[in-house]
Point group: C2
Amino acid sequence: MTIEPIAYYRGQISGKFALPRQSSLAPSLKGRIVFEKQYSMPEAFRGLDGFERLWLIWGFSENEGHWSPTVRPPRLGGNERVGLWASRSPFRPNPLGISAVTIEKIGDGVIYVSGADLMDGTPVYDVKPYVAYCDAFPSSRSGFAASAPEPKLRVDFEVSVDDKLRETLSQVLSLDPRPAYHGGSDGRVYGMVFDNLDVRFAVRDDLLTVTELKPRT
Amino acid sequence: MTIEPIAYYRGQISGKFALPRQSSLAPSLKGRIVFEKQYSMPEAFRGLDGFERLWLIWGFSENEGHWSPTVRPPRLGGNERVGLWASRSPFRPNPLGISAVTIEKIGDGVIYVSGADLMDGTPVYDVKPYVAYCDAFPSSRSGFAASAPEPKLRVDFEVSVDDKLRETLSQVLSLDPRPAYHGGSDGRVYGMVFDNLDVRFAVRDDLLTVTELKPRT
């Protein structure tokens, strides 16, 4: 079957670095589902305002079907192997992801959402309303992902920052964006792009300090 | 993007007639996810036994991308129109469905499940473990599908039937498999195939009576 994007996700994080690994881990992260013109007629969104959440079926656009029968989930420290079918790894024969996001607002051919774990520019193949009676099983036994990962770092700011940005960046950075093999490299300065900002930070022990925030030129 | 089935669903209902419209409406319905040979190595399933439920991403194989901006959900009686993006209608630009099913047993290249809303023979494009912390939002406002549909009919059997079959058929038939426009045709005899059985039943008021159950020849 050939599938084509019905929309693209526009968000605050452009690459994999610092991207939350599941939806809802950084609930303040904002984004937009921007529909392709042929799918954006107002009547196609009628009734969606009755729903609080939305499923996105999207493409791991950087992994075109490269896969292996076992994977090493970051959740298990990156060492232990589990089967591909027991994981949400992006490396799958059909590189599709599903994410439940919160609907913030419905605009003209655009759904504003929060809490997504998608990179800016990600192709979206379908959206569906989240229906609690058939989608929500809060006590469902969930193996090695039995609970949400705890924030790993405290986040402090050496620079002035408004409350909203502080909240969102704190959520994102507290998950520890550093590659696992950098765990010991305390003091190194890391950089990332967030929205139109260059962000720099350093980590000492369990404290991450944002040292610079400046508009991209 | 081109996607290929990784597996096929083998279940007890072969067509759309009497098929539950969402997963978990008929929790006793049994089925199997039979993986294609190249995806069925034992190590690919390692760790899946820690999970209670599984997401299936599957194809509405009878609707190849036929869609309309609005649809009439059976849930609203088939008269009221809502937007396609506010519905789980099978008629979508990319005809993909998602269903959370219960894992019963893991076999050799096969996952035994229950509660699925898939037809026998449905192509499955991906499976993922159900992870409660990012998938389960039990109080999420769910518009016109705020609660599971109530069973519409009582189900009685004129013929002998074992307990397990009685339970499963009762769940399926209580949802009222009749097309909406047959609502008034009380007394008419309907037939369906369930597993390897020919099933006949009639409806009077809110009572559905199974009148015949015999092995297919």
